[in-house]
């Protein structure tokens, strides 16, 4: 049995992304390096054969997903549950946390000018943010950061993959151009994933 095939079977069968170490558990003969090598060669094989799926690195894990250009076809199926929209308040809070983490509730409220209590609870429930530390100040406030789930949603490996605040206008301009080519941005849930190595 080739290492590649074992890695492929494991990635295919998994509900979530798996780290190289987790994948290596499939077989004593596998180690993390062998897994990464196998993933690389599977990626090349999929690319060459123009498979409709690819292995993406999401956070510290790997997952086989359909390529984003097929999203419009897949969304025709009722079976794909339509995802809830985040409220503008939740979205703004999420952006603040992504760019300022670790950050406490008080600081978030200073930026947004309104209470953040309930929106923070929602974001924690949805596993988009989590408590990453406690501050030094009065009452040792909870400090929040974004989760692996957040990164996976946007197809990011790391928070540092987010464009910096100064780059934002440029990146948004580029995205806008791309989006107009593809027609609809909203139907494409992971536009950035295709660029992942």
């Amino acid at each position: 049995m080739k290492a590649e095939q074992v890695v492929e079977a494991t990635l295919f069968a998994s509900q979530t992304s798996l780290t190289a170490a987790e994948i290596a558990r499939a077989d004593e003969d596998l180690d993390e390096d062998a897994v990464r090598t196998a993933i690389q060669s599977l990626r090349e094989a999929y690319e060459e054969a123009e498979r409709a799926f690819q292995i993406y690195q999401l956070g510290d894990g790997y997952q086989i997903l359909t390529r984003p250009e097929f999203a419009p076809y897949l969304e025709r199926f009722d079976s794909v549950p339509r995802a809830p929209h985040l409220s503008p308040a939740a979205l703004e809070t999420l952006a603040i946390i992504a760019y300022r983490q670790p950050i406490g509730r008080i600081e978030i409220e200073e930026v947004r000018g309104v209470s953040a209590t309930s929106v923070l609870r929602t974001l924690v429930d949805w596993e988009l943010i989590r408590v990453v530390a406690r501050g030094d100040g009065l009452g040792r406030p909870l400090l929040y950061g974004v989760t692996q789930n957040f990164l996976e949603h946007f197809g990011l490996k790391d928070v540092s993959d987010l464009p910096g605040p100064d780059e934002l206008p440029v990146v948004l301009g580029d995205l806008q151009a791309t989006v107009e080519d593809v027609q609809e941005a909203d139907t494409d849930p992971v536009p950035a994933a295709e660029d992942l190595p």
Binding site: A9, T10, F12, A13, S14, Q15, T16, S17, L18, E22, G61, P81, R82, A83, P84, H85, L86, P88, L91, E92, L94, A95, I96, A98, Y99, R100, V111, D125, W126, E127, L128, N149, H153, F154, G155, L162, P163, P165, L168, P169, V171, L172, L175, Q176, V179, A185, D186, D188, P189, V190, P191, A192
Partner: protein, 268 residues
Amino acid sequence: MSAIAPPREAADTIGESFQIQLERFEGPLDLLLHLIRSQDIDIFDIPIARITEQFVSALSDSLEVIAIERAGEFVEMAATLVRIKAQLLLPRPEQPEWEMDPRAELVRRLLEYEHFQDVVHVLQGAEAQRGRHFGKGFIRGRPPPLLEPVRLELGLEEFLKVAARIPEPMPPAAVRPPSLTVTVDEKVSLLRRLLDKTARVPFDRLFRPWGTRGHAVAALLAALELARQQVLRIEQVRPFSSIWLLRGRGRAKRNGTGRPAAKASDES
């Protein structure tokens, strides 16, 4: 009877004095077939007397431990066997044709039952083989969250647009330069210079660039002192709005902070 059960084990050993656990058999046909096949008996020539004896013996051994409903099924079969046995003892008619054999119907049922046992084996094989194919989502992966994971309909672009609207952060406290000590006199000089150039000075102009409490306190004391000297007036349109320092009547004197204070301030 539960529909889930481990695969049936091979039948018990059968000997001269066999012990049969009736509950291991799906029913009387299963037991009967077992008695016949395990003793290499020709199914088309079943020794009814012997088989009946073995069947009844197995039944009476287990009658107390099996459920009434199941016992009834075995008892019914025992009655059939006894009836066949009796028929065989009767004088045979002239033509010993198969159709006339009192065992014929029982043999038909046994063969039919055996046929379906073969199908059961095929199904078990298919089930085992199917159990080795896994679809997407078979491996759980990371520990499941307490709640169902929420799928978001949110693109990176939408997210970044929101991020771009967030105001720039205040420089974090840790990177602020250490505050310099400042005297009230220094602020008095600064204030006088500013009032020479312009008739109105925003109060925060005196400390905001330094951003420390020390500068703010020194600026406040300087403003109060000069107000006392009527070099300036302090004005505020409404509570918590911006504070303005306006050029006053006593501006001629350049260097005085000397006169004792009559009162803390004119206004504010």
